[in-house]
Symmetry: C2
Subunit: 216 residues, 2 copies
């Protein structure tokens, strides 16, 4: 999938850069397991789909974008229920996430296949949460846009749950302890080290030294 | 910014998970420098804005989502021109990206401030590309949605340019050589190691051993 053919390499430009064929090459992007369930007998099985075409689109209200092909079983389930959950994926969930990206919920119970546990949400009526996920966003669909190969579901985050080991005694959320996974042009990558924090380029030396202690 | 107060920790649930206040906690997300330029005398200065609220939303046509607060100078520039570029950020560009996230293009020429070079795009009329970026997506605005704190610009990728050192002799794009940066709850992180490729959970042993050689 990552190999380009001759047609992709359109031209070598005067500035030395090479022009590729237009493609969705934004990187690194998140890897998440989206939990969903439909409202009819045929679609009521709790399901998981692996998604990398996702992102935050608004802070207030908190909104996430999740894009799903129209042919997918999960597309039908999210459309029926108007709900989904976004479950962050850590290294221990990666094999399951990859498997959930290549199998269809029409054919198989993916929770059972992967040995994972579906849990009910306090905030949603239908969509299951993934009990093993470090952090889960519970979302209600606010709009759907038909874009081409994928439809974009915008979900409002109406709830968040987190594994207690990711909170310090001071109540501080330490997502850096979660071993989250990113997606880079067809490959899954772990995170390496902390290179800075928002505003580090203008931070006072005392703040820099406190926040970057033992890092970087 | 990463500290939660009492109100954030709503309840400790029976399953041991902790409920947080709804927030945009999807992670890791990309860090990019969006290049833009307006069409009037007041807005014609090439500008850069650091964005983490971005994601891929469609493969065909390739579409990316970029969310910008209405108050930003860049919001005006993208609205006027209907164009922007998405420039991936590597470790060497991180300090500049952070600075471009805290300064406004209304007050300062950010290319000059950061010692970076704006280059013209073959595909766009107004928006500059960042010459130092490993990979640039040239985008035309397809739609704008007013969501709350942020407006979401959907851009169609009409061109891609890449630094030649990221292409192998076989024409294969190796974004893993680019030292890209991800954003994790207020912190910038490097990538660590390759944990697998799309489909690895069902790959034949020979494929696994070839593609994961020297990795993981």
């Amino acid at each position: 999938m990552a190999t380009l053919d001759r047609n992709d390499l359109e031209t070598l430009r005067p500035d030395g850069r090479i022009r590729l064929r237009p493609a969705a090459l934004l990187s690194p992007v998140p890897v998440v397991l989206v939990g969903c369930r439909g409202t009819t007998e045929a679609t009521a099985r709790p399901n998981l789909i692996a998604i990398a075409w996702t992102g935050t689109v608004c802070s207030d209200p908190p909104l996430v974008s999740v894009s799903i092909r129209k042919s997918r079983f999960s597309h039908l389930q999210v459309t029926e229920s108007g709900e989904f959950t976004v479950n962050l994926v850590d290294a221990s969930l990666l094999r399951a996430a990859d498997l959930c990206g290549v199998k269809s919920g029409r054919d198989v119970d993916k929770f059972a296949l992967c040995g994972l546990q579906a849990a009910d949400s306090d905030r949603l009526r239908h969509a299951p949460t993934l009990a093993e996920s470090p952090l889960t966003l519970e979302c209600r669909v606010r709009s759907v846009a038909e874009l081409g190969s994928h439809d974009q579901f915008l979900g409002e985050v109406v709830g968040v749950t987190v594994r207690p080991d990711l909170l310090g005694e001071d109540g501080r959320l330490s997502l850096d302890r979660a071993n989250l996974v990113g997606y880079l042009h067809g490959e899954y990558w772990s995170l390496g080290r902390c290179l800075g924090f928002f505003g580090f380029s203008v931070a006072a030396p005392a703040v820099l030294s406190r926040r970057m202690k033992g890092r970087g």
